[in-house]
């Protein structure tokens, strides 16, 4: 059987018993039921207590004990009634009954302690006020009854007074129970109903004359009260657990609480009216109850007013602090040098500061209400959204370098970060933005400058190496032949003259090298001087080829010259000749025996082209790109005399004439160098310095 079934069955049995008692109150059956019902209720409470277990069982065990004693008292009276014996006051039945009340009180004390750990002055005072009010309104007649038996013996009066006293205590605790927010539990109203029924029945019993018909109903009320008590115990044991004790703050008065306090205040005049109507005089006890209650109400009222005052002061202080804090935030926000925006959880801009308007190049109105993503570079939307979501979770993100697109469409670089503002009702994010476009541009410029400097440094090294190499070769011949001429005693005059001629030729070569070096250097600096005249490139090509014939023959290389008529340009004849010479000399040098060098001159619109092709080893792509660097030597020409400075001179000469130089080559398949000179001379053509067109 399930717990609910057991519970329902028990309740059914209890109800049936009470109904049976109601129908047949007299006789042995009535007596048996009036003893059996409270004992059954006590048993139900014990069962409930066992199921609760631990400290939570204690109040219910106390209740069970109390109910059992009350059942005991009743049983004694019933047995005596059945035997036809009168029951005096006080009797054993009273002693047994009066053992039951303290246990009920203890049960409530334990219950209230378990429910409400937060001792709270307001709750205590409220409970006391309500208790005293009820006491003033209701307990007056109760004690009146005790006094009306004034003629009785002292022990009778003591016994009669003991009942309402315990009742009052029980009432106080029940009130305290209500104020401890216990009524949220499903079993609590049942328990409260049981207590109210018990106390009401006690009251009625005390004031009605003995033997009246009301007496039977009082008995029924008592039995119903025990039954309800048992049901409450069983309900409590099936509840999952007692709800967490409420942490009661110093109670601030709400309308409910005012009503609760207003009603007891009305109890005093109503009690006075009752006494007057019934023609009874007010007693000292009534006055004491009433006065105590009023003092308590005043105390409570005072503390309420004080509480209100404190609350108001706190509120004002909090408001002031909040306003100051807001002002501080606003001041920081507005005057910050960093661009700031507040953004809601959806990513919409709520507010922006001046600095951000400056960065975004727009007005505040142009930004507020728009999604901040509108200002993020479109390609970055995905990643920035992810960062924003992560930022909402983690509280902050950044700083990150991000591209932004500002109002006028310009792309800028920004250092950005998010911070989620703490303790906001809705998520609020502060986005900070610093424009670092200039910094990044400067970094890029610096990198370029750095590369240029490294290039210059490399150039310096190359210069040293090339100058050293290219100058040493003629110098070797000059020194060597002069030494021969001076020291070779066996040499004839003709031989000596021959040595000196070689020395002289190499001196000229040296001179030309120094001159070339100077020319390249000046051309680089942009102030090389040219001796301009009308020059026939065809004639120059033929001259160069004729001059190169012996060298070519010595190297086993065929050399041919193809010229289409007269092709004139305005140029420095000496320099143009040198450029063609260098290309031809390189061609022969890099062409193995059996190969061929072709020199071709032809008009090409407003320019004249000189092409020097060879069947040499060719040049790979990397080398082609760097070929005309002043002192570059290709990997194939490692150490070739003149090759380093040679092409650099060609380039310098072509550049100063406003022409172009290009090379087509494939590694292993020979190369074709082409130089173009504008017909009209330097400054007329589309020649661009430093622009080597490289084509494969």
């Amino acid at each position: 059987m399930s717990e609910a079934t057991v519970l329902r069955a028990s309740i059914a049995v209890g109800v049936a018993a009470i109904v049976a008692y109601s129908l047949h109150a007299g006789g042995a059956l009535g007596a048996g039921l009036s003893s059996g019902i409270p004992l059954g209720a006590a048993a139900a409470m014990t069962v409930g207590a066992r199921r609760l277990g631990g400290r939570r069982a204690l109040p219910w065990l106390a209740f069970a004990g109390g109910t059992a004693f009350l059942a005991g008292g009743d049983t004694i009276r019933n047995v005596r009634d059945l035997l036809g014996w009168a029951t005096p006051t006080p009797s054993v039945a009273d002693w047994v009954d009066l053992c039951g009340y303290p246990l009920l009180v203890i049960g409530f004390v334990l219950l209230v302690q378990g429910l409400d750990r937060g001792r709270n002055r307001a709750v205590l005072i409220d409970s006391a006020i309500v208790t005293l009010a009820l006491a003033t309104a209701v307990w007056g007649p109760y004690f009146q009854n005790v006094r009306s038996n004034g003629g009785s013996a002292f022990d009778t009066r003591i016994t009669l007074a003991a009942y309402p006293t315990w009742g009052l205590l029980l009432l106080a605790l029940a009130t305290r129970f209500v104020f401890s927010h216990a009524l949220r539990e499903r079993w609590a109203p049942i328990l409260l109903a049981a207590v109210i029924l018990l106390l009401s029945a006690d009251l009625v019993w005390a004031v009605v004359p003995v033997g009246s018909t009301a007496g039977g109903w009082v008995h029924r009320a008592w039995l119903l009260s025990y039954g309800l008590w048992g049901v409450a115990a069983l309900r409590a044991s099936t509840a999952a657990a007692v709800a967490k004790p409420v942490r009661v703050e110093e109670e601030t008065p709400g309308s409910y609480r005012f009503l609760l306090l207003a009603v007891p205040v009305m109890a005093m005049p109503s009690a006075v009216i009752t006494h007057l109507v019934l023609g009874r005089g007010l007693t000292l006890v009534d006055a004491a109850f009433g006065a105590s209650m009023l003092v308590l109400v005043l105390l409570r009222f005072g503390s309420t007013v004080r509480g209100l005052d404190v609350a108001r002061t706190n509120l004002i202080e909090r408001n002031v602090a909040l306003r100051k804090s807001e002002e501080r935030f606003r001041w920081l926000f507005e005057d910050a040098a960093v661009g700031l925006a507040t953004v809601d959880g959806e990513g919409r801009i709520v507010d922006v500061n001046e600095a951000l308007c400056g960065i975004a190049r727009t007005q505040k109105a142009g930004m507020v209400g728009r999604p901040f993503l509108d200002f993020v570079f479109p390609e970055d939307h995905g990643v920035v959204t992810e960062e924003f979501v992560a930022g909402l979770e983690r509280g902050r993100i950044g700083p990150l370098e991000r591209r932004l697109r500002v109002a006028d469409g310009t792309e800028i670089w920004a250092l950005t970060g998010f911070t989620v503002l703490p303790e906001q009702d809705v998520p609020m994010v502060v986005v900070n933005v610093q424009d670092i476009t200039d910094r990044r541009r400067m970094e890029a410029e610096l990198a370029v400058r750095n590369r240029e400097l490294e290039e210059a440094d490399r150039f310096k090294d190359e210069l040293l190496s090339v100058v050293s190499h290219d100058l040493r070769t003629p110098l070797t011949s000059i020194m060597g032949y002069l030494e021969l001429a001076l020291e070779d005693v066996n040499a004839t005059a003709d031989e000596r003259r021959g040595f000196l001629l070689v020395a002289q030729r190499n001196s000229e070569r040296l001179h030309r090298l120094v001159d070339d070096l100077l020319f390249v250097s000046r051309a680089q600096a942009g102030h090389a001087s040219l001796d301009l005249d009308v020059v026939d490139l065809g004639r120059i090509a033929r001259r160069v080829v004729e001059a190169a014939l012996p060298t070519a023959a010595a190297g086993g290389v065929e050399i041919v010259c193809e010229v289409d008529g007269v092709e004139t340009v305005v140029a420095d004849e000496h320099r143009v000749l040198e450029a063609v010479e260098n290309l031809v000399s390189n061609g022969i040098k890099f062409t193995p025996p059996g190969g061929r060098v072709e020199v071709r001159v032809e008009g090409a619109g407003d320019a004249v082209a000189v092409r020097v092709g060879d069947t040499g080893s060719g040049i790979d792509e990397d080398d082609r790109r760097r070929l005309f660097d002043r002192f570059f030597r290709s990997t194939q020409s490692e150490g070739l005399p003149g090759a380093g400075l040679g092409l650099a001179i060609v380039k310098a000469i072509v550049d100063t004439h406003g022409g172009t130089v290009t090379v087509k080559s494939a590694f292993g398949e020979g190369s074709v160098f082409e130089i173009r000179f504008p017909r009209a001379g330097p400054g007329s053509g589309a020649g661009v310095r430093d622009s080597v067109e490289v084509a494969s």
Partner: protein, 118 residues
């Protein structure tokens, strides 16, 4: 004895020097010719310029060593820094002479090379 240099003036200079010292001298204008002459005529000593078309002096030396030839090699270099010399010695050259050189420099290098052998 073999001399190889692509600069005709220097080649003649070296040849004259060596003839004055009493050697028979073969000459080559480039690396390829030099290599063929060494293979064909097995000279007592090869004086090779580093900077020559088609095959540099260092490459010629390296090829000879790879082929098992033990002909002593002296390198002529126009580089101011010692890099060529170091690479050359590593490739198997016995000595080097830096341009410009005096009669004494060359004579000294040749005698030393012949005295040491390989």
């Amino acid at each position: 004895m073999l001399a190889a240099d692509d600069d005709a003036d220097i080649l003649l200079l070296v040849r004259l020097r060596l003839e004055r010292l009493g050697f028979d001298v073969l000459t080559a204008p480039d690396g390829v010719a030099a290599l063929e002459l060494v293979r064909a005529r097995a000279p007592a000593l090869a004086i090779l310029d580093v900077s020559m078309p088609f095959l540099t002096g260092i490459e010629v030396t390296q090829t000879l060593r790879d082929e098992g030839s033990s002909v002593p090699v002296i390198l002529l270099t126009a580089r101011a820094r010692g890099a060529d010399a170091d690479v050359g010695i590593e490739a198997g050259a016995i000595g080097y002479v830096t341009k410009p050189f005096s009669t004494e420099d060359l004579d000294h290098a040749v005698r030393k090379a012949l005295a040491v052998g390989v």
